[in-house]
């Protein structure tokens, strides 16, 4: 009887210890931080980036912008990386139809971003995205129509290339979604990054 009680007490203690270690390990992996030259960022840093040929596909039509710039202020809060996208100017946008892009702009900035680790890979998840596009052209099926793309986007952060990649795969992994009304919008882009302020030219990584 005494032996069984001792075994039960041992098992409870063992499981409690296992839970505690798992919680600590889980927290460490789920909360990556911004690092420059391998050192954790201690104060906010402005990072600029530019993607080439990034495309937003609304059903039936892809809008491609030759350049897709952005400014994101990155910081770590309690060991977790976060960010705030403050600018997103777009350059030379066209479509794969007869529609022209009369105007296009990122709206409701800043957009908030958070870092997370999913299955050993690090991701940036941007929320509150809103891009308005006005299409034009006499031979454009949606001439004079403004479309709004809203939602969230998850991109894979690759430390070796210091870039964020957005694709249907990264959207699916991060359970993020961009929509235009009830239609899913696809966003593909490769965004190299570069610190602009105190950590200029330092290697940017996330871990």
């Amino acid at each position: 009887m005494m032996k069984r009680k001792a075994t039960r007490i041992f098992l409870r203690g063992f499981l409690a210890a296992l839970m505690l270690s798992a919680v600590l390990a889980g927290a460490a992996s789920a909360a990556p931080a911004w690092k420059f030259n391998g050192e954790e960022l201690t104060s906010p840093e402005k990072v600029v980036g530019a993607a080439e040929k990034s495309g937003l596909t609304i059903p039936g039509m892809t809008t491609t912008c030759e350049n897709f710039l952005y400014t994101i202020v990155v910081s770590n809060k309690s060991g977790t990386g976060e960010g705030s996208i403050t600018e997103l100017p777009l350059y030379n946008c066209t479509t794969n139809t007869k529609c022209t892009v009369v105007a296009i702009a990122a709206e409701k900035l800043p957009w908030v971003a958070n870092l997370s680790t999913i299955s050993t890979k690090n991701y940036i998840v941007i929320k509150g995205i809103k891009v308005s596009i006005l299409y034009g052209g006499k031979l454009c099926a949606i001439n004079g129509v403004t479309a709004e793309v809203t939602g969230s986007a998850g991109g894979w952060l690759d430390n070796t290339t210091e870039s964020a990649t957005f694709s249907p795969t990264t959207f699916s992994t991060t359970k993020t979604e961009l929509r235009m009304l009830e239609n899913t919008v696809e966003w593909n882009g490769f965004f190299p990054t570069e610190a602009f302020e105190w950590h200029r030219e330092q290697a940017l990584s996330v871990s």
Partner: protein, 270 residues
């Protein structure tokens, strides 16, 4: 009662533990343990960062004030920052270069353009078509390879004050430098929330499509795939369209009225 071996005793204890409500704790612990396995990446990514750091020239390991660009550049927009960062970049630049943009920045939509534009705000879908995350493929029954009847459509979010609803379907790519209309319906009651497959709502009229028919037809050339855009217009002023009306005129009037619209794309390959 037979004497139990060590493993049997352990299993027996586990079963007892289940009775004591420890199994949920065990399950939670295993799940959390699995989540913790992701921690392996940290070491890997840190190693990546460290290996990159060591490949940099000492000149780029600057930190602090000397790494900061001019306040003018900082205050300027993202493009100026990218250019300034490029100009100030040392030889030890890591990763891919962030290229300065070419050409002009796209303009924002002006208040006047917003006022004159048709806003895509109406939820518009088809219960006849397979659910898909992208462009739905029309089943053959809704093309000239089948009954060539229009699918059912449903909508919601028609703004208050709408006097008439109209529907246009056209190829996304023009034919012979002209818009190609496959289907047009005007005079739909704004209080309605849909249209049945092949059914013309009471009071509505059908326009003459680009095949020269008063009706619907999806019939790309054999061996060709086409994408079609459907626009559901909520018009603030009533039209007086008659059977066989010109869809181009309806479209131009809809553009002038600058109401709201629902958008949808479908495709078909023959």
């Amino acid at each position: 009662m037979a004497q139990r071996t060590g493993p049997e005793r352990f299993l027996g204890s586990l079963l007892k533990a289940a009775g004591a409500g420890l199994i949920p704790v065990l399950v939670a612990a295993v799940l959390l343990g699995l989540a913790g396995c992701g921690g392996g990446s940290d070491a890997q990514t840190t190693a990546n960062a460290e290996s990159k750091t060591t490949t940099q020239s000492p000149s780029v390991s600057n930190k602090g004030k000397q790494g900061h660009l001019t306040s003018e550049a900082e205050q300027a927009g993202a493009a100026s920052r990218v250019e300034a960062a490029g100009a100030a970049r040392g030889s030890g630049k890591h990763g891919p270069a962030v290229a300065a943009p070419k050409g002009e920045e796209e303009p924002e939509i002006t208040p006047q353009q917003r006022e004159e534009a048709t806003v895509a705000s109406i939820s518009f879908s088809s219960p006849s078509l397979p659910k898909t995350e992208s462009v739905a493929v029309l089943p053959a029954d809704y093309t000239c390879d089948g009954a060539n009847k229009w699918p059912a459509f449903s909508w919601s979010g028609i703004p208050a004050g709408t006097k008439e609803v109209a529907l246009l379907m056209m190829n996304t790519q023009p034919v012979d430098e002209k818009l190609f209309f496959d289907w047009a319906i005007a005079g739909i009651d704004p209080s309605s929330d849909g249209i049945g497959a092949g059914e013309l709502p009471a009071g509505a009229v059908v326009g003459k499509n680009s095949f020269g028919r008063n009706g619907y037809s999806i019939c790309p050339p054999k061996g060709k795939a086409e994408t079609f855009m459907l626009l559901l217009y909520a018009l603030p002023k009533p039209l007086s369209s008659k059977q066989g009306f010109d869809p181009l005129e309806l479209r131009e009037e809809a553009e002038r009225q600058a109401g709201n619209a629902g958008l949808m794309a479908v495709s078909y390959a023959r």
